[in-house]
Structures are given as C-alpha cells and as structure tokens.
C-alpha cells in the first residue's frame, strides 16, 4: 500500500492558487448535478499518449469501451502505436466474487508476450478497487518477471474528478518511472514538457522552434512521449508545465526532489506562444539563448502577421461571444484577439479566480464576464451585435435563433490551433464559420409557420 498516493495531500496542493481561499480543493461532486469526467479518465488522458506503453484497464467494460480512441493524440512512434489500442481485463461477475488478480496477472503476461511494450500502465477502477485486488503487488511481481516497468495507476473513478486523476497519474509516473534510468547525454537546455498531450498535433506546432533554438525536449508527460525518455526526466534542467494546472504537484515534487525549477505556460495564440518561448529561455537563464529567442519570436511574429493580413481584413469589426470554462475563458479569447476579432463577452462561471482576473485584463472594462452564460449570452449577442458564438454544442440553438455563426469549442478538433501556425488554422475555421450561410438558412421559417 505504500506506493498508493495520499489523495488528501494531492487535493491540498500548496502550489494551487485557489487552495489559499478554499480548504478542500476540488470538492466532492453533487449527486444528480455533476458534469465532467472521473479520476480514471483524467489518469488515462494524462498517460495514454505514451505510444510505446500498453494501457491495461483492470475493470469492467464502461471504463474502456466508452473511452478508447476518443482523443487524437499524435505520435511519431514508428512501431505499433499503442495509443490506438485498448486493453481491458473486462472483469465478470466471477472475478467480482473471487477476485480478478489471477486474470490481471495473466493479462499482463499476455500483453508482454504479444506486444512487448516498454512499460505497462495498469489502471485500477472503481470495481477492482472495491473488491480489493492487490494491484501493487501484481505489478511488482510482473515487473520482476518481465524486466520492464509495470506501473500501477491508482485513480479509480470514484476518488474524484478528472483533475485529481491527472495528479494521480503524475504520482504514478514520479514513483515508478522518473529517475529509473540515466540519459545517454545531457545538454544545458534539456526540458520536460509536462501536461502537453499533443492533441491533434499541438506540440508539433512549436517543438521545431524549440529545436531551432537548441532547446532539447528530454521527455514529455506525455504527448508523443516515450517511456525510456520519461524515465530520464530527472536530468532535465527545467520542467515546462503546458496548460495543465493538475500536474503542478508533480513539478513541485520534482523541484523538491531534484531541485528542478518549473515554468507554467501555454502555446495558445500569438502572445501566449511568444511569452511561452521567452519564459523557457529566461528560465534556462542563458543570455545568448534569450537573445536568440527574442529574434526568433520577432521573425515568427512577422511571418505570422504577413499570413494573417487577409484574415485581419476579414475579421475587422467582427465581434464574438465566448462561452466555455477553465483557462479557455481567456486563452481562446486571447487567440481571437490575436486574429483581430473583438471578444465582447466570455463565460467565467466555470473558471478560477485567476482565470477571471486574466480574462478581465485581456478583455478590458467594456466586455462582460458572464457568470450565468446560459441566460446572458442571447441578450449580449443582441445588444452588442456579435457575429459569432463560440460555445459547447448545446448553445447552437442560441446562435441559430440570433441568426449568427456558431463554432463548437468542445468539438474534437481535427487540426491544431496551437503555436503560431495553429492560429492560422483557427482563423481559417472561423472565417469559414462566418462565411457559412447555414446558420441563417436553417433558421428559415417553415411554409406552414406564421
């Protein structure tokens, strides 16, 4: 049991800004009034992008059946891409009554024999945590049998939210992988990318720029990641936390354990990308690197400005209302501003104090921070004459009633909006949305309606 992380400690993360106001962070969900995923899902999201590891779910079918192949996390791994495979013990009533331990051990052996991955992550789920299968012991024995890390991930759904699961995944990686191998070589500019999952190739928008600057990505957790690399993560000079508050416990512990500093940033939008690159260079502390980064930023921004010209012209005078949550409340707003769209309102109902503050700074005093977007957004669209609503699918009706364009911010995107070039993808998609007559056309009254 020693390897099981203490959930209470994780919830009370000292590096979390909002924990200073609230004693219990990320509190318990309300029955019948809860949205959002569970800890298991959060853990899976954090670890699944390792394409050279097998991800074995020890539980019944809902856990994996509904969740595998849901996220397009790109990988350059040349052998069989295990992110596009699902492994589950699919426990049955017999296992529930008589324990699923034997099955789990056999399942690990099966995977090692047939797929020979660099590691196996074994995920506990509600049912197998409940019946008390000793996953730690089985993983330890299997690791000895096979000579690769077999990592127990103790994030059964019922322990909490997606965010907590992500932290628990970080704990598992810290306990079982980081520091278990030495890199062949190190450079002065080795970094870890933490919390970057490379969804639709996001990180590939900026990693070439890092490479050009001579900054080496030693390891990632876990976008386009490799097990062999994350095992050497303790030798990096800097942890770069990308858009992921949940893994702040991990970076704090690595600071304590290995003295590794960290920076937290995002690569969403022009300003964020530039700030992010500079923040990395500054944290690495090399004057020459900082200088080179500044000139690279200048060059890239100029290149982008040139490519954005037709879009800026098109978006001139266009206004948008944004209805989303978390850091998207301001990060998408910033990206919209970068391409020349005025953001007249953003929803901050599901955002932290920090996020609200950032949104206010970005949007200025004139814009509305919506505390009750469902009720407010229609009125704001009418009053401001907004042209575009960016929100979840349910708000589509609002846009149609108002006769304005709609973009689904939650839709699984097929192309990346990250980095400098991603902004062009965003601009292109939004221009298409604004030019699309469909929203007006479907709102046509039926011939039999008065």
């Amino acid at each position: 049991m020693a390897s099981k992380p203490k959930i209470k400690e994780l919830l009370d993360e000292s590096s979390c800004a909002h924990n200073q106001n609230r004693k219990v962070a990320c509190n318990a969900p309300t029955p019948g009034a809860t949205t959002g995923g569970c800890a298991f899902e959060g853990a899976q999201i954090s670890l699944f992008p390792y394409a050279d590891a097998a991800h074995l779910v020890h539980g019944p079918m809902t856990c994996l059946g509904s969740s595998w192949e849901t996220r397009a996390t790109g990988t350059s791994y040349s052998r069989r891409d295990l992110t596009r495979m699902g492994f589950i013990t699919d426990i049955n009533i017999n296992d529930v009554v008589f324990s699923g331990e034997e099955k789990l051990a056999a399942a690990i052996d099966y995977i090692m024999t047939h797929y020979a991955p660099e590691a196996v992550f074994v995920y506990a789920t509600c049912v197998t945590a409940m019946i008390g299968d000793d996953i730690d012991l089985l993983c330890k024995q299997a690791a000895e049998r096979h000579g690769v890390p077999i990592v127990p991930v103790h994030a059964p759904g019922f322990v909490g939210s997606k965010n907590l699961g992500s932290r628990l995944a970080g704990e598992a990686v810290l306990t079982h992988l980081i520091g278990t191998k030495e890199p062949e070589e190190t450079t002065a500019f080795d970094i870890n990318l933490i919390g970057e999952y490379n969804v639709s190739g996001d990180m590939w928008q900026y990693t070439p720029l890092l490479a050009e600057l001579g900054i080496r990505v030693l390891s990632t957790l876990s976008g386009d990641g490799r097990i062999a690399q994350i095992r050497t993560a303790h030798r990096a000079k800097l942890n770069v936390l990308v858009c992921a508050k949940s893994l702040v416990s991990l970076t704090r512990k690595m600071q304590e354990r290995y003295g590794m500093p960290s920076v937290s940033l995002s690569f969403y939008g022009k300003r964020e990308t530039s700030n992010g690159l500079l923040a990395i260079a500054e944290a690495l502390g090399d004057l020459n690197l900082i200088e080179r980064t500044r000139s690279l930023i200048a060059r890239e921004e100029a290149k982008l400005a040139e490519k954005l010209k037709p879009y800026l012209l098109f978006f001139k005078g266009r206004k948008a209302v944004l209805n989303t949550g978390g850091n998207k409340t301001w990060s998408i707003a910033a990206a919209l501003q970068d391409i020349g769209i005025e953001v007249v309102a953003t929803a901050v109902k599901k955002a932290t104090e920090d996020d609200r503050e950032k949104a206010r700074q970005l949007l200025g005093d004139q814009a509305t921070l919506m505390m009750n977007p469902g009720a407010e957004q229609a009125r704001i669209i009418s009053e401001t004459g907004a042209d575009l609503l960016l929100a979840g699918g349910r708000s589509l009706y609002t846009a149609i009633k108002q006769g304005i364009a709609f973009a689904d911010v939650n839709q699984e995107k097929k192309k990346s909006y990250g980095g400098y070039d991603g902004l062009l993808n965003l601009a292109e998609d939004l221009r298409n949305a604004l030019q699309n007559p469909v929203f007006k056309n479907v709102a046509r009254r039926a011939p039999w309606q008065k």
Binding site: A28, P29, T30, P31, G32, A33, T34, G36, G37, C38, A39, F40, E41, G59, P60, M61, T62, C63, L64, G65, S66, W68, E69, T70, R84, M85, G86, F87, I88, T89, D90, N92, I93, V96, K103, L104, A106, A107, D109, Y110, H114, C126, V127, A129, M130, I131, P156, G157, F158, V159, G160, S161, K162, G393, R394, L396, Y397, T398, E412, V442
Partner: protein, 446 residues
C-alpha cells in the same frame, strides 16, 4: 453450419468493440419522452457515456450521475446518493421519468435500488445493469423489460388494431421509424418501446434539451397492454415481450430475430397479411420488394467476390450476415460482442465471441470490415475496406439515418456495401483488372 466459438480463453480483451450494459440502459431511457437517465455509479461512467453518444449522434445527450465517491461507496447503501440525485435533478428540471440504472460499483457493494426506489415519490423506473455482466444489447433489453414491468398497467381487453414494437438496441432511429411506418401501412397503430425515432433522430428542436427530446410518452407506455399484438425484433427483446404478455393474457406475440433482407421481410409481411386478412400489401411495399430483388442482382457480382468480417452486437450481426449471404457475400468471420442464441443462426464460415484482436489475427481471410468506428484504424493498417455500422461511429455524420432494414433499407445496404467493395478493390488494384459492380444484366427478371 458455421463453427461457433462461444467463449474466449484470453484473460483480457484487446481492442474491444464491446460496450457496457449501463450504456445500453442509458440509450433505452433516451427513447422515452422527457426522461432523465440517472446512472448510479462514479461520475465518470455517465460522463464518458454522455460524450460517447453525443459524438455518435451529434446531439446533446441528457444524463445525470449519482456521483458515488469512495467515501460514499463505503458508507452509503445507495440511499443517500439516489435520493439526493432525484432531489437535485428535480430542483432544476421536471422530467416525466427518472431512469435509474446501475453500474458495476453499486452492484459490487450490493445497493438495494429496488428498496430505495420505493422510497422515492417521483416517477422512476429502476434497472440493474452492472457493467461486469452482459453488454450494450442486454442493458437496453433489460431496461425495456423494466419499463414494462414497472409502468405498464395490466389490461384484459386487446385492441387488435394496436401493435407494440420492441426493437433491439442496434436499430437506428430511422430504422425504427421505417418499421413502424411499414406496419402502419397495414392499418395498425404502432407504439415502439423504446422509441429513438422521435428522440435521437437528429431533428432541430426549438430549444436546447435538458431532457430526452422525444420518444414514447409515459402515458403511452402505461397503456401498452391493451394492444392485440407485440412484435419483438432481435432475440435480446424476447424477455421484454414475455413480460408484456404477462400484463395481458389476451395479447399475442410474434418474434423476428432480425428484419434485414428479402426473406426476413417476407416473413413479416406474411404475418401482417395473416393478421389483417389483406390479400396483398400496400403498393409501395410491393414496389420496394421488386427494387430489393433488383438491388440484390445489381450488387451480387461485387459482393460475390468479396469476403467480409462482420463485428457487431448479436442482433445486428445476424441481420447483416444474412443480408450479405443472400446476395452472395461471403462472411468469413462474424464476431459478436457477447454470447447469444443468435450466434448459431449466423450465416458465416466462423462465428465467435471476441474482440478486434481476433479480427486482426485472421486478417488473411477477408477483404472488408463491417463494424464500428474502432475498425477504422485496423482497416487502415491492414489495408481492408470498411463499412461503418454500430456504436460508436465518430468518423461520419448521419448515423441516425442509416437504414438497412426491410425491403427498402435492404437496397441501400447492398448498394453501399457493393460500392465500398468496388472502391476497395479498385484502390487495391489501382487501374488494372478492375471489378465491375454489375455482372450479367439480370435478363431473367424483366
């Protein structure tokens, strides 16, 4: 007869296309008008299910969770979670019905949801659907059975013009609608339970829906037992039909394993003719039958040279395989998510309960996949053709309108399959010796 392997000896599933019982239950409750499905378990089960169906149907999905936490799991027998859930749901919306269904977690600790439900003063139907048993199909079927058991009022009189349709889980919204209309063409008034044809059919409503936006009404469900005839489609629905019969001894039951292809539809028509005493079907039905005959001939050449792997829920599997078989398609392997009495009826060289790893291991023996979205990566890797059927299909839009059933849908299915076959062989051969969709023009039938 095909070799049938009912049980796998693997200790795990690799690339599963099986889905869970609670997910089937959710979907069934979404076929009841104004319903709020309440999944009793950890919050993730409901969240994942919501995202899963939202992406499949491109529609908002109503669902809530009792959000059982580890502490609650130990201390609570379900009373607190469920009672609180109902209170919190009804504080915000007014569902016509709350559809309480379980997952593995509360079933493992043995929550007495029947007892708890009795304490709740709100229209509610409960069903036990642990996800360590059964699958999507049984979850749907059990829920249908529970709706009948707990809502339908017993009756003694039977209205011979009224018919209850019990469709299996894999029938799409448009398929349910087509079957209803087909039977209505013979003068019956048809109620489907559950009825996705008016809820998840992909219609633009007037406002955003917090509850299921259509489906069979609660009132209609209560009155189902005065129907003269119940028609079940899919072996999974037999138990629900039996339950309904108990509500009215005067009611009769006709069962159809599936409604795909010429022969299966003929059997339905024969039954409807016998019931009504009509001498023939409506003119459009006769016309569609001729069109299906023609479609079978038009597609037989392409299908006749193709070998298929079909992966589906049992009730859909038997129908797809029969359709292909009737027009000469060779089903080399049929893979089912779970065991079922349907498996022995399947027209295939090999039938097994398994996963997509099993599909991969016999990759030499077929050219095309028929299966869900998880077959896509595999088809790409193994250079196979692909026809997407079943849950989930996140690659395409319009899933709710894929129609494979009866004479009409049979035509669409064969054309789509034949065209995919040809596209596949052409992409394989790139220019040389291309397959033709039509062989000899069907001289015999003119």
């Amino acid at each position: 007869m095909a070799e049938v392997i009912h049980k796998t000896n693997k200790p795990l599933q690799v690339n599963p296309f099986k889905l869970s019982q609670p997910m089937g239950a959710t979907l069934a409750f979404l076929g009841v008008d104004g319903c709020m499905p309440l999944m009793h378990g950890g919050q993730g089960c409901a969240s994942l299910t919501k995202v899963f169906f939202t992406r499949h149907f491109c529609e908002p999905i109503a669902i809530q969770t009792s959000a059982v936490t580890d502490a609650v799991a130990v201390l609570d027998g379900g009373d607190y979670s469920i009672v609180e859930s109902v209170k919190n749901i009804t504080a915000k919306v007014t569902p016509s019905l709350i559809g309480l269904h379980t997952t593995g977690l509360p079933e493992t600790k043995g929550d007495d949801i029947r007892g708890i439900s009795a304490q709740i003063d709100y229209p509610l139907v409960y069903v036990n659907t642990p996800d360590y048993e059964g699958g999507l199909e049984s979850g749907w079927a059990q829920t249908c059975k529970a709706l009948i058991e707990q809502l339908v009022e017993p009756s003694k009189k039977a209205d011979d013009n009224k018919l209850v349709l019990l469709p299996h889980v894999s029938l799409t919204p448009i398929e349910v609608e087509k079957i209803k209309e087909f039977i209505e063409g013979f003068g019956f008034k048809v109620s489907a339970l559950p009825d996705l044809s008016t809820s998840l059919d992909g219609h633009l409503g007037d406002k955003q829906a917090a509850l299921s936006s259509g489906g069979i009404s609660l009132e209609e469900i209560r009155m189902l037992a005065d129907a003269g005839l119940v028609v079940s489609v899919g072996d999974s629905m037999q138990a629900a039909a039996t339950t309904l019969l108990k509500k009215n001894p005067a009611m009769r039951h006709e069962h159809f394993p599936h409604l795909q292809g010429l022969a299966a539809t003929d059997v339905l028509v024969e039954m409807l003719l016998a019931e009504t005493g009509f001498s023939g079907p409506p003119a459009t039905v006769a016309r569609w039958r001729q069109r299906l005959q023609d479609a079978m001939l038009d597609s037989h050449f392409a299908l006749g040279q193709s070998r298929f792997l079909v992966a589906a829920e049992p009730d859909q599997l038997v129908g797809i395989c029969q359709s292909l078989y009737d027009a000469g398609g060779k089903v080399a392997v049929a893979i089912s998510t779970v065991d079922s009495p349907q498996l022995k009826k399947i027209k295939a060289e090999k039938v097994l309960v398994g996963d997509l790893e099993d599909a991969e291991q016999c990759a030499d023996c077929y050219d095309l996949f028929v299966g869900n979205g998880h077959c896509e990566a595999l088809a790409h890797r193994l250079h196979k053709g692909l026809l997407l059927r079943g849950f989930p299909n996140w690659e395409q839009v319009g899933n709710q309108m894929k129609n494979d059933v009866l004479y009409e849908g049979g035509c669409y299915f064969l054309f789509e399959t034949a065209n995919e076959t040809v596209r596949f062989f052409m992409s394989q051969q790139s220019g040389t010796d291309q397959a033709k969709p039509c062989g000899n023009e069907h001289a015999g039938l003119q």
